[in-house]
Symmetry: C2
Amino acid sequence: MVANPERRASLADAGLQVLASAGARGLTHRAIDGAADVPQGTTANYFKTRDELLGALGERVFERLAPDVARLAQLEDRPPGIDLSIAYIEYIVERTTSEPDVMRALFELRLEASRRPGLASILHETLARNFRLDVEFNRQAGLAGGPMEIALLRYAVDGLLFELLTVPMDTGLEPATVVRELVRRVLNGQPTVP
Amino acid sequence: MVANPERRASLADAGLQVLASAGARGLTHRAIDGAADVPQGTTANYFKTRDELLGALGERVFERLAPDVARLAQLEDRPPGIDLSIAYIEYIVERTTSEPDVMRALFELRLEASRRPGLASILHETLARNFRLDVEFNRQAGLAGGPMEIALLRYAVDGLLFELLTVPMDTGLEPATVVRELVRRVLNGQPTVP
């Protein structure tokens, strides 16, 4: 059987749905066959082991949350500076909260990885690669901040998204305010790249 | 049957263990009876519904992660200022990472709440109360920062803890460096309270 990338992606999407509705423990190859309405055994043909399946869902989250090319082009036309850094982070919050199940799935997978070393090693690679890409993207865009600043922003945005996608703790702050204050403070004094 | 607070706490601790090893889906009243080595039905006597049980585990996480009184007294003896703010956050990171299953349980419960409105409303109350207590503690300690700064720090620390307790993304930074840079930048220019 020749692997079909579109079929693979649509099985992964069905897996993300199952993960959202039933949690990691409800996610089985068979449950995905059912959700994707494909013959039993199809998901197992594409993802041989449970770790491989869960790891592929982690990869798929980043594909699903990738920025829209046209929106990115608009942002790239703007002059680098703190307002552009804020706009990029606002766009991350916008696209992750508009598909809440997808980002929640990544949090579920990361937690599940603390119980599954095989999954941890796959996700580690995915997360580390995406962190390097974020740092490189920021540099190429001429924006302020290196690995330290990207890490601080990433931690705070993860914490904010975790709240927005689960249970509020009543900080009284709008997400846009959090993003603006966060970026200003983290990048305070960091020069944009010439 | 008269409720026994110690029994209640020890059942909740057994619940946190089950949650850590089996995830939210593996957590049942019966599994907790087994883990706590008590007669079947005991856990159901203390926590009538699944939402009540999960909500009580959320409360228990905060009890388990509460600061040690002697350590707190040492910190309270130090003069307020940025270094003391850093020391308080370092102590949060120290005590949550030294009991990794307990903090992971809170993340699991928050995610589970996105699928369970009854749990969400219990956890909402717990989280909102703890946020207010953090803001009030910070003010009474004479430390810099109000609700905005506490929220920014809380988000970033949640994101850092989520990484430390699940899968690294290879930022190349030590947690102590992250905490120091984070507190300095978030509190930059915020006066300590006279």
